[in-house]
């Protein structure tokens, strides 16, 4: 069998070079690099309510996604995230208008909605009333910040194959990754069987509505998927899934405890870091402790599984560059040094055009370097990678 290897590998290489057209070889960037980059931008977005900076982040994410997404199915989803982002902003503004809030004396009143009287036990909420420019603006900015976070998540999903991202989960979380992968592939199969059974039902006269019709479709489909999942389970078992190696129940319990404690620490840390009112030390301390616990838990758990990875994504300078330009943005916006921190969160009172702090703006623009640093995405036949 091994005699054949010599011919096959050069053939694969030849195709790669041909597709690149000279310059850099197209390849998929390591999914973790994209997730870190997007996460860092999301962090940066959550630090500011300056509309100019938020717009800049929107623009940077848009540019990078356009430049570096593949033509694979999951990569076409970015506009759904954009749609969702706009919806978030709209909902936020509408709520602020309908439930009169955030209006202070001296505001610039745009218009007045008829006030609907609310019962006494509902006194906290007022429906209708004056709508001020300041309230609408602050709602829009709040919404935009949330929308920015959404777009960052969307960008990560678009740029990195979500399933490949699951593959880089540490060994201890492998089972979770497989479960998600299998669940994702079951959904289209389920849709297919529902369509098939519905079509077949006509052959039997398709009499009966409501519960009976539901039953006539649900029972064959459920039977089908149950049988299929049993076969899948048998297949995975015979293919070595879940070879435990040498784990004892005690070590498994220790791993679980470490992981849970670590996650709790991470949550506290993240809250502390992102909320400005919490002392900085609590945030950093919690984050560090949580991360340490998680890492040791994963290491413990990973030790018991012996598994290898087929064609692991390499981690080279493009990955480092993408990650560091993302992180640089987050760090600059978190440190509040080198510029006036008030410029990140300009007040609406008095109403004025926000100033654009130079350093944060430059840092956000630097994140766009990811589009240049990342190699061109593979196309056509290589699209699935």
């Amino acid at each position: 069998m091994s005699a054949l290897t010599g011919q096959a590998v050069p053939a694969a290489r030849r195709r790669d070079t041909a597709a690149s057209g000279g310059g850099r070889l197209p390849r998929a960037l390591h999914p973790v690099a994209w997730w870190v980059w997007a996460g860092a931008l999301a962090t940066a977005a959550s630090r500011t309510s300056n509309p100019l900076l938020l717009l800049l982040i929107f623009a940077v994410v848009g540019v990078v996604v356009t430049a570096r997404r593949t033509d694979a199915p999951w990569a076409r989803g970015y506009r759904f995230y954009l749609g969702m982002a706009l919806t978030v902003i709209a909902i936020r503004v509408i709520f602020r208008i309908v439930f009169e809030s955030g209006v202070t004396p001296g505001d610039l009143i745009l218009f007045r909605l008829p006030r609907i009287p609310t019962p006494a036990w509902y006194a906290g909420v007022q429906i209708g009333g004056p709508v001020s420019l300041e309230a609408v603006l602050s709602a829009t900015i709040d919404g935009a910040r949330l929308a920015c976070l959404l777009c960052c998540v969307g960008a990560a999903n678009t740029l990195a194959n979500p399933k490949r991202a699951l593959r880089v989960l540490p060994g201890a979380l492998y089972e979770l990754g497989v479960a998600v992968t299998v669940a994702l592939s079951v959904a289209p199969q389920l849709v297919e069987s529902v369509q098939r059974v519905r079509r077949a039902r006509r052959l039997r006269g398709a009499s009966g509505r409501g519960l009976r019709a539901l039953r006539a479709i649900a029972i064959p489909v459920l039977h089908d998927s149950l049988e299929r999942s049993l076969r899948l389970a048998a297949g995975m078992d015979s293919r070595g899934y879940g070879r435990t190696g040498n784990a004892t129940p005690a070590s498994r319990r220790l791993t679980a405890t470490l992981m849970l404690a670590g996650l709790a620490g991470l949550c506290i840390g993240a809250y502390g870091l992102l909320d400005i009112t919490v002392p900085r030390a609590v945030g950093i301390g919690g984050f560090a402790a949580g991360a340490a616990l998680c890492v040791s838990g994963l290491a413990m758990g990973g030790r018991r599984v012996s598994r290898s990875r087929y064609r692991p994504d390499p981690w080279r300078w493009p990955e480092w560059t993408v990650v560091s330009c993302g992180l640089a943005t987050a760090v600059v916006l978190c440190l509040n040094a080198g510029y006036n921190p008030a410029a990140l969160n300009p007040g609406l009172y008095p109403l004025q055009w926000p100033s654009l702090p130079l350093l944060p703006a430059a840092a956000i623009l630097a994140a766009a370097l990811a589009a240049l640093a990342a190699p061109p995405p593979p196309t056509a036949t290589g699209a699935s990678r």
Binding site: L4, A200, L203, L232, A234, S238, Y241
Partner: protein
């Protein structure tokens, strides 16, 4: 390599053991073919090799099974993954990842094989099975044959010493099945893998088998030299049947072997068979049961059926053949009226309206269709409930149509076409053949003049196919017009009077079975291939010619 020592298997709650007292050895590098009727315990025997029985399925296993020297009592299936590779019937159900390359690597990842070695093995396997051009494709977009080859490849990359395949071609059309079987025989010869294979298409693999294990159905296993075991086995392809009839010893296992023995038999036989290959019930004097004109089915830019004209006589049984994607299913669904039809008219004897213009309940009284997965129509808990529901549906629709007449109950129909189906059973627990009979009975309860079956022979063994042939014969005798879409030439020979071959949505051949099936070597049944140029189609015809006494 594989050793069964006094093995017995009893599933939980079962009264009788599935396997008992099995003693069998399969040596290194052998191809062992497992044969037997559906339900005789083939799958249990195969699943016992890597410990799925009893670790996964439950039940009790007595005795010892050794695979590559490891006792399956102590090793679970996952710990045998490096020794035994397993390929199932439905490849799609067993895929864990979603692209070809990742699927090939999956088992190796579980076995923690070094990434460099993994890469090399994936490339080797891609070439070995001829699927290199599919490497980046999503598994769901592949054809059945390609999927099955990927599944075999995925089992092979771990370099198991034993490969177990449970009816790997039962869901495939003949061309894909050939690809898969060719790949398997190549593995045996080039790699020396020990292969255990359960397969209905005996004629394709028999020539390569070193050992045959026959499960007669009482739980025992008879294993040994192929010719010796087959001389006693109940499930045999026509070539072996003919060999037995002619008294050839050793039995020929391939058409080539038989043809070399046949000259003397050919001289003995009269030039025209004394009996026809089947007794036809076609009633050409009556008005046609169904007339279709200019049927067109298109799905967007794809034209599945292009302007087909078809006339079916009462009592005529027609085989609709052609490769996958040639428009057979689309044509059947369009004739029935439930499927898409872009142009064309269908008229059924005794009805003014086109079935497509009627509500579903009315259309099924004119034309009944049994779809490719018959179980899709079954949703009640017992066979009896399904039959009662079928009667109610038929009664309602005939009352709506204002018709009255002698009502034959679905139960009577089922007992007629498949005697012995227990009415208290859950429809899902029936064998594939019995499920098919149940759905056929449900559809016949509406008394359609025309009955269409979409690939009913998939996954049926010789016995079930014989049962289906008998059932269709009786329906034809009662005047039903029957169309069966099938890939199975032997089945078409026995069950059909007329053969219609489709290609690219058009009818390319339409004629009596005897001429259509002997005209081309690819569509000829085995007996015709062996005895050509004599126009014999079945072993029964040869028997009648050799022994004139029972012929009249």
């Amino acid at each position: 390599m594989i050793h069964f020592d006094q093995v017995g298997v009893t599933y939980d709650g079962a009264t009788a053991p599935v396997l008992r007292d099995v003693r069998m050895r399969v040596e290194e590098g052998e191809l062992c073919l497992v044969i037997g009727h559906t339900g005789s315990g083939k799958s249990t025997l195969l699943a016992a090799i890597n410990g799925l029985v009893p670790h996964f399925t439950g039940g009790t296993l007595t005795g010892r099974v050794l695979a590559g020297g490891r006792d399956t009592a102590r090793f679970r299936p996952r710990e045998l993954a490096d020794v035994v590779g397993v390929v199932g019937q439905d490849p799609l159900a067993g895929f864990v990842t979603d692209t070809v390359e990742e699927e090939l690597a999956y088992t190796m990842e579980q076995l923690a094989i070094d990434p460099a070695a993994m890469r090399a093995r994936v490339e080797e396997t891609l070439d070995l099975l001829g699927i290199a051009e599919l490497r980046h494709r999503a598994l769901r977009t592949l054809s059945g044959g390609q999927q099955q080859r990927v599944a075999i490849g995925a089992a092979l990359t771990a370099h198991p010493r034993i490969l177990v395949l449970d009816e790997p071609t039962s869901a495939l059309d003949p061309a894909s099945a050939e690809d898969v079987l060719a790949a398997i025989t190549r593995l045996v010869h080039d790699l020396g893998v020990t292969v255990v294979l359960a397969e209905h298409r005996l004629e394709r693999v028999l020539p390569y088998a070193d050992r045959v294990a026959w499960l007669p159905g009482d739980g025992t296993v008879t294993a040994g030299d192929p010719a010796a075991v087959l001389s006693r086995a109940g499930v045999v392809p026509p070539v072996v049947e003919l060999g037995r009839l002619a008294g050839w010893d050793p039995l020929p296992l391939s058409v080539r072997d038989a043809r070399r023995r046949a000259p003397q038999l050919r001289r003995q036989l009269p030039g025209t068979p004394p009996v026809t290959h089947r007794s036809a019930h076609t009633d050409r004097d009556a008005p046609p049961a169904l007339t279709a004109r200019g049927i067109v089915v298109r799905y967007g830019p794809l034209i599945a059926v292009r302007g087909v004209d078809l006339t079916l006589s009462r009592g005529e049984s027609t085989a609709l053949m052609g490769r996958n994607g040639s428009g057979k299913s689309s044509l059947l669904w369009a004739l029935q009226g439930s499927g898409r039809r872009s142009a064309g008219r269908v008229s059924v004897a005794g009805a003014a309206a086109d079935p497509a213009d009627l509500p579903a309940a009315g259309a099924r009284r004119l034309v009944g269709l049994v779809p490719q997965t018959p179980a899709d129509l079954l949703y009640l808990d017992t066979v009896a409930a399904e039959l009662a529901q079928a009667d109610r549906d038929a009664h309602d629709s005939s009352r709506d149509a204002g018709a009255s007449g002698e009502a034959v109950t679905a139960r009577a129909i089922l007992d007629d076409i498949a005697p012995g189906v227990s009415h208290g059973m859950h429809p899902r627990d029936l064998s594939a053949g019995q499920q098919l009979a149940l759905v056929l009975a449900v559809q016949l309860a509406a008394a359609p003049a025309v009955i269409l079956l979409d690939e009913p022979t998939r996954g049926l063994d010789y016995q079930a196919k014989a049962g289906l042939t008998g059932a269709l014969d009786r329906l034809a005798a009662r005047g039903h017009a029957i169309v069966v879409a099938t890939h199975d030439v032997e089945f078409a020979t026995r069950a059909c009077d007329r053969v219609v071959v489709m290609a690219e949505g058009e009818i390319v051949t339409d004629g009596p079975a005897a001429t259509a099936l002997t005209a081309s070597p690819t569509f000829a049944p085995q007996v015709a291939k062996i005895l050509a140029p004599l126009p014999y189609l079945t072993v029964a015809q040869v028997a009648a010619a050799l022994d004139p006494v029972p012929a009249p």
